[in-house]
């Protein structure tokens, strides 16, 4: 095994083109578990630890651009949290302080697990993922990037450079269900984001389908249930119906963490709760 330690994004792309067998390493919180347990013995590892281009973030007009190397701890920083509240909430639910200090948003995308906590938020925000390689750059909407459980559209020679989301245009929530408050893989996760001017609510669901899902029917239905100028639900009881409609969009399976029925129930509760928090009287 070789360890490649490029010190720029250009060099990282060039080395990955020369070593397509190399496994990209960011915070290591997914990859090192596999290496420690012998599930993966990469011939080569390309560490992004010294690639400065991936570590920054910035605001470009109404768009927040996050380098792939931005950690969960950094996402919780008020400077970013203010622009992307649901992403910060999702980041705060990840693992533990140690995991949040190391784990990156690019790694969450790289793994592409249905339970990845940032993914439902990125789905709700219609995020775009920027991939770079020696042959150029391309930008994919999240819905085209995530193609199955732990399967993404990323080519082996591509590096995830950044992910872009719109700056918050209204209240946002991320909620997750798991057996305890720390260190849990979500049984169900839900992001809800509102665009007050655009009069829209978007919902992203995690752990209840092969990829992060949206809830288009519920999103369309709820538009007329909100008094947009007051920022309130016309009838608070509508939050329950919203919950049922969102749950209908889930496509959960039974596994060792929960049954499909329980996951659907969780989604309906989380959707009701999120909408109530965003548009409480």
């Amino acid at each position: 095994m070789t360890v490649l330690l490029p010190d720029s994004l250009d060099r990282a792309c060039a080395q990955l083109a020369d070593h397509p067998e190399a496994h990209v390493l960011a915070g290591g919180t997914d990859l090192m578990v596999e290496v420690n347990f012998g599930h993966r013995r990469p011939e080569a590892v390309l560490s992004l630890a010294r690639v400065p281009e991936l570590k920054g973030w910035g605001r470009d007009g109404d768009t927040l651009v996050l380098g792939a190397g931005v950690t969960y701890t950094e996402l919780c920083d008020p400077a970013i949290a203010e622009l992307a509240p649901a992403l910060a909430q999702a980041a705060r639910t990840v693992g533990s302080p140690q995991i949040r200090n190391a784990g990156t948003i690019g790694g969450n995308l790289g793994t592409g697990s249905p339970a990845g906590d940032t993914l439902p938020v990125l789905a709700a925000l219609d995020a775009t993922v920027e991939l770079v390689s020696v042959t150029g750059r391309r930008t994919l909407p999240l819905a085209e990037y995530c193609i199955g459980p732990k399967r993404t559209a990323r080519d082996a020679t591509e590096i995830i450079a950044s992910v872009s989301v719109p700056v918050a245009r209204g209240p946002q929530e991320y909620l997750k269900v798991g057996p305890r408050n720390a260190m849990v893989i979500s049984v169900a996760g839900l992001a809800a984001v509102a665009d007050i001017e655009g009069r829209r609510v978007a919902v992203g669901l995690g752990s209840v389908g092969p990829v992060p899902l949206r809830a288009p029917e519920a999103e369309a239905w709820v538009v007329d249930r909100i008094d947009w100028s007051a920022g309130r639900l016309v009838d608070p009881a509508d939050a329950t119906e919203f919950g049922s409609l969102v749950a209908a969009a889930a496509r959960p399976i039974d596994d060792h963490r929960a049954t499909a029925d329980y996951r659907r129930h969780c989604v309906s509760v989380l959707a009701r709760r999120a909408l109530t928090r965003m548009f409480a009287a």
């Binding site: 010190d7 090192m32 701890t73 190391a102």
Partner: protein
């Protein structure tokens, strides 16, 4: 640059030469088995228990999830740095005084997590203390005494009470 099979790690201010190691080894393994620094403990090797917590460039991380060869050029701090001459740090002493050490296996990791918390926030609330140690598992104490230890350390350092 390609990291050679042999590499140098800066641990507690001292350069250590790592020779003949398999390049896929975790920092935890290298610290314990190659550098003779067994302070960080190995219980899970999957980031769940926190007993291997160390600082890498001022960030508290699980050393079992750090690829040692990729930590070349960083400054690594382990629990051994807290008591270089055998005299306990105030946090370590508070753990002893509050009865927060039972079998002691989790203690180095918890002490590192508490040192990190208090360096960022000298007067944390109890909720912040609980969140700060949420990545460290202890099978013995039930955590009550660990939180007591943080109270003692905060009181001695600042005179303030953990709210």
């Amino acid at each position: 640059m390609t990291a050679p099979e042999d590499y140098d790690l800066l641990v507690n201010g001292t350069e250590h030469h790592v020779v003949g190691a398999w390049i896929g080894e975790s920092l935890l393994y290298v610290l314990r088995e190659r550098l003779g620094l067994p302070g960080a403990k190995n219980a899970c090797e999957q980031g769940e228990c926190g007993s291997c917590s160390v600082m890498v460039d001022d960030r508290l991380v699980c050393s079992c999830l750090v690829l040692a060869a990729s930590a070349v050029g960083t400054a690594i701090t382990t629990v051994e740095s807290l008591a270089p001459d055998g005299a306990l740090s105030d946090v370590q002493q508070a753990f002893v005084d509050a009865g927060a050490v039972q079998c002691g296996f989790c203690t180095p990791g918890l002490v590192m997590a508490v040192e990190d918390l208090l360096a960022r926030d000298a007067a944390p609330t109890e909720l912040e203390v609980r969140e700060a140690i949420s990545g460290n598992l202890c099978r013995c104490t039930g955590y009550g005494r660990v939180i007591d230890a943080v109270r003692v350390a905060v009181r001695r350092r600042t005179g303030a009470e953990v709210a």
